[in-house]
């Protein structure tokens, strides 16, 4: 039996990173130590950051350590990280990176890249060393949340094992993926998670055990529409009411409608329509419908104008929709002057 130093600083710091509307008050962290093979669970109360010795000794067959965070509304638990410590078991860690710095759960969008860093140490190669100390298995799982799903309450035992490999050497491996492989009929609307897990190889007194795992959430690409003005419409008087429909806005995004003179052109910075700015700072995608009216002041000259619906995310600015139309408010009076003798 041995003691383990719990180094929780990086994990808890990730939980508490103030990058979204979720404050420390929204999430509460728990570390559970689970003894193998008895299954006894111990709540290792911890400070928000720091390192401490595990007061409950690690049994010969090992102990699991699980870092959970729990949200109270709705009451939901998220497994952030796991670690397994045993006498004959190598040590591993899985860290997933994306372009979105959000924590506690790594996340990205269906059209963006991500990578998983797998670090393994403690592997042995001696002839007399047990098999469980010579290699570990790396498994990649995918699981869809379904159309419009958020992952709350999903049964993770239903995840699909996508690929598996063996790691036989100590060191760090970076696995880079251009896109997610979560199955979906519409690849722009993928919603789900990818998990990378390191499992031990069965050995003396040690069954196949998950040593480390981490997952990333994948959210769909947003879409939207502008209704109320049709392409090429000629507007002579007040601008009509505009209905902006927004679907699957990224959890960290700012969306707005802008107007500029001329035909549609990517990259043009225009004037923002009043009342159109929508800031989302959440943990799941959002959908909204906005109604805009009395925005004539933006259009101060006659001619061709373009309205664009834009969303700004950690990945850049995406144009969701656009429409061009003509404004002609000048009243031309044609008269004829004639004389009559």
């Amino acid at each position: 039996m041995k003691l383990l130093v719990l180094r929780i600083a990086p994990l808890i710091l990730a939980v508490g990173a103030p990058v979204s509307a979720q404050t420390a008050a929204d999430y509460t962290n728990f570390i559970r130590q689970i003894q193998t093979p008895s299954g006894v669970q111990w709540d290792a109360s911890v400070a928000a950051t720091g390192a401490q010795l595990s007061q409950l000794g690690v049994d010969a067959a090992g102990s699991h350590f699980e870092l959970w965070t729990v949200k109270t509304s709705p009451l939901t638990s998220y497994l952030l990280d796991t670690a397994y410590v045993g006498a004959y078991i190598p040590v591993a860690s899985v860290t997933i990176h994306s372009e979105d710095p959000y924590g506690p759960i790594p996340r990205t969008r269906a059209d963006r890249a991500f990578s998983a860093v797998i670090a393994v140490s403690g592997l042995l190669s001696g002839l007399t060393d047990p098999d469980s100390a010579k290699s570990v298995n790396l498994l990649r799982y995918v699981q869809s949340y379904g159309l419009g799903g958020t992952g709350v309450g999903i049964d993770r035992s239903q995840a699909t094992l996508l690929s598996q490999a063996s790691v036989t050497q100590n060191g760090t491996q970076t696995l880079s993926y251009a896109l997610t492989s979560i199955p979906a009929g519409n690849r722009a609307k993928v919603s789900g998670e990818e998990r990378f897990a390191v499992f031990s190889v069965a050995g003396y007194q040690a069954p196949v055990t998950q040593i480390a795992s981490s997952y990333i959430q994948i959210w769909p690409v947003a879409d939207g529409s502008l209704a109320g003005i049709s392409q090429g419409q000629l507007i002579r008087f007040t601008l009509p009411q505009l209905t902006v429909t927004l679907n699957d806005l990224y959890p960290s995004s700012t969306t707005y409608v802008q107007a500029y003179q001329g035909d549609p052109q990517l990259g043009v910075v225009g004037k923002t329509l009043p009342g159109s700015v929508l800031v989302i700072n959440d943990s799941i995608p959002q959908s909204r419908v906005l109604t805009l009216k009395d925005y004539d002041a933006v259009f101060d000259t006659e001619g061709r104008w373009t309205l664009e619906l834009l969303t700004v995310t950690p990945f850049g600015t995406d144009r969701l929709a656009y429409v061009s139309f003509d404004i002609d408010r000048i009243i031309r009076v044609n008269t004829t002057l004639t004389t009559d003798e």
Binding site: A165, L175, A178
Partner: protein, 192 residues
């Protein structure tokens, strides 16, 4: 997706990948400079995804050895825990950590919406009036050694909710292990 768009996307990806490799593993990869583009469509992504499939980096690793689990264990902290909730505060303790639950306190094991979730130490410090803890050993927790009979009797008369703890932290106490059935003794005459 046009050839130009694919090229631009891939160039952006390679640039990101390079930046990511330089930054890993200590910091998250910074987002690419904001570039305005039309939102990606299914057709574009399906094509990009098909092209990326042969590049699965796990294919470069040796095949897995031994038995591998087909699915992830269905894990959820809430299903592995009991809730204690009172006065707008709540906490989680491992299942089987509650040794005694008086009928009058059954309602305090349900989460009340709007309650603030606290760690055990903080919750217990504020609710000592109705919670009593009993320190158990590791052997008692795993069911190898029974709790003292005197303690078990005392728990029955306890008006407070009783939580088993190990060095102050709530711990599950498993049922006493029944000794495995002794192998049937067979006398067998050995013939020379």
């Amino acid at each position: 997706m046009t050839a130009l768009a694919i090229k631009a996307t891939r160039r952006g990806w390679f640039a990101w990948q390079l930046g990511a490799l330089c930054a890993m593993p200590t910091v998250l990869s910074p987002a690419a400079p904001p570039v305005m583009q039309d939102a990606a469509t299914h057709e574009q992504l399906a094509q990009q995804w098909r092209k990326a499939q042969p590049d699965d980096p796990m294919k470069a690793l040796p095949a897995a050895t031994g038995a591998v689990p087909a699915g992830q264990p269905g894990k959820d902290l809430l299903s592995q825990s009991d809730i204690l909730c009172f006065g707008g505060m709540a906490t989680l303790v491992p299942k089987r950590a509650i040794l005694q639950l008086p009928k009058a306190m059954t309602g305090r094991t349900q989460f009340a919406a709007g309650s603030t979730l606290l760690g055990w130490a903080e919750f217990y410090a504020r609710n000592r009036g109705w919670i009593t803890t009993v320190e158990v050993s590791q052997l008692q927790a795993e069911g190898s050694v029974p709790l003292p009979e005197e303690l078990t009797k005392r728990l029955l008369d306890q008006p407070n909710l009783v939580v088993a703890t190990y060095l102050g932290g709530p711990i599950s106490v498993l049922p006493i292990k029944r000794p495995s059935a002794a192998p049937t003794s067979q006398s067998e005459s050995i013939k020379p």
